[in-house]
């Protein structure tokens, strides 16, 4: 059994959250470059130019891309042949988050739901763990802002609503959000499973690079169909009107109960911050 010390997990997580919040990935840069070409509105083009300019400044000046540096969402794949030593895995991840938000001058945005008292160090992080074959640990950091997260929802559709039901649900959420989740957005759609897995699928869907289609051709076509419909709403960059409301739509799907059609939408802003490491 391979041993991994918590010290290496702490420093990996610290590095990931600082990197993700400051350095926009090439994939998103490329998507914004393409969006300028596609956008028909002059105001919309100007907004996208500001976004590209912003990401370049963030990188050059070592500043967060957005002041909302998010709740610290992590997806962790733990190889079943790994033995974590030195302490608890979850506490190591929390310590990495604590250090990242302090040492990286990132905003602490985590508070008590009712008193609204800030926890002070952006913990606890959100940790989704999967046990996988192998002797590695893969950690994905996905700091997620509040503006976009507020327009997520789970709906237990009835099976007869089918694809049309899912599509109109997604369009409903995008329209409801309008300018608030900072378009151009990326839309994660979870379909199937049950109540809680549909929500998780919708977030996992956001991890696919922009432009990557679902391996199933029918689902890939459905992604494009929804993307096209979203970009016809007219919402546009920042909601100021335009033809690029979303950069992409990603679907993740699982079988579900014969009586159900669970569906979930999770919206991501254009500041799509995601970084991963394998230990």
């Amino acid at each position: 059994m391979r041993e991994v010390h918590t010290d290496s997990i702490i420093s990996a997580v610290e590095g990931l959250f600082i990197d993700a919040n400051i350095n926009l990935s090439q994939n998103v840069f490329d998507a914004l470059d393409q969006a300028i070409e596609k956008e028909e509105s002059p105001v919309g083009k100007e907004v996208i130019r500001e976004l590209i300019n912003n990401a370049n400044i963030a990188k050059a000046e070592h500043m967060p891309i957005c002041q909302d540096t998010g709740l610290a969402v992590t997806f962790v794949e733990v190889g079943q042949d790994v033995h974590v030593v030195g302490g608890a895995l979850t506490e190591a991840i929390a310590e990495g988050v604590r250090r990242a938000y302090k040492n990286g001058y990132l905003r602490k945005s985590c508070c008590d739901p009712f008193s609204r008292k800030n926890t002070g160090d952006n913990t606890p992080p959100i940790i989704h763990t999967h046990i996988v074959p192998g002797d590695r640990i893969k950690i994905v950091a996905l700091p997620k802002g509040g503006g976009s997260e507020n327009y997520g929802e789970v709906r237990m559709l009835v099976p007869s609503q089918g694809k049309e039901g899912v599509k109109s649900f997604v369009l409903d959420m995008v329209t409801k959000g309008g300018p608030n989740p900072c378009p151009p957005i990326i839309v994660g759609v979870g379909i199937g499973g049950n109540f809680e897995t549909s929500a998780l699928l919708s977030k996992e869907a956001l991890m696919a690079p922009i432009g990557q289609r679902n391996p199933d051709p029918a689902t890939a076509a459905f992604e494009m169909e929804i993307l096209d419909a979203i970009n016809k709403t007219g919402i546009g960059p920042q909601g100021y009107g335009g033809t690029v409301t979303a950069l992409d739509v990603h679907i993740k799907m699982l079988p579900c109960h014969i009586a159900s059609l669970p569906a979930a939408v999770n919206i991501q802003c254009h500041a799509h911050r995601i970084k991963e490491i394998v230990i």
């Binding site: 500043m63 609204r116 009107g241 033809t243």
Partner: protein, 183 residues
């Protein structure tokens, strides 16, 4: 795009010239305030006490910046969603507040107050916090330091890039934009 330059304190003659959809560069001083600061403003007003700053001809920026790294005036400082402050805005506008900067739609009550009292709602580009920070030349906490990122901070700004969303004539960039590009 053509860019208009405006200055705080905002006077009515400047406000009358602004139209929804225009890009402006704002210079002067603005005050950050978001959810918790607005709650305290109202508690203060309800007690009959003075607000931490005189609202007349001033601009509030709905913003909770990230911490300033060493040697810098401010961290990233983009806008937060304005709608959460809709319940508070009309009363502040009636006290002479002339501008709000944020992102996202406002309620009809807020839009009505902009027409009635001649004030402007500006949009700063959400998620462009590093770009916006470049326009901030000074920063001074004026109230509620205990609120951390939600404290009221007086920011000196030079050429802060904004768009006019709601003007005093009832125009709304969000509504006009969607109508124009909906297919």
């Amino acid at each position: 795009m053509e860019i208009k330059r405006i200055q705080t304190p905002l006077d009515e003659s400047a406000i009358e010239k602004l139209k929804a959809g225009e890009k402006v560069f704002l210079s002067g001083f603005i005050f950050t305030a978001r959810d918790s600061a607005h709650k305290r403003f109202f508690e203060t007003l309800d007690k009959g006490e003075d607000l931490p700053f005189d609202m007349r001809n001033q601009i509030i920026y709905y913003c909770g910046p990230s911490p300033a790294p060493p040697g810098r005036v401010i961290g990233s400082c983009g806008p937060t969603t304005s709608g959460r402050m809709d319940a508070y805005a009309p009363r502040l506008v009636s006290l002479g507040l002339k501008g709000m900067i944020g992102k996202g739609k406002r309620s009809q009550a807020v839009k009505d107050s902009l027409k009635q009292y001649k004030a402007i709602y500006f949009g700063a580009t959400g998620g462009a916090g590093a770009l916006l920070a470049r326009s901030v030349v000074s920063s001074e906490v004026v109230a509620y330091e205990d609120l951390g990122p939600e404290a009221v901070v007086k920011l000196g700004v030079k050429d802060l890039p904004l768009f006019v969303i709601n003007d005093i004539y009832g125009n709304d960039l969000y509504e006009a934009g969607i109508q124009k590009y909906r297919r």
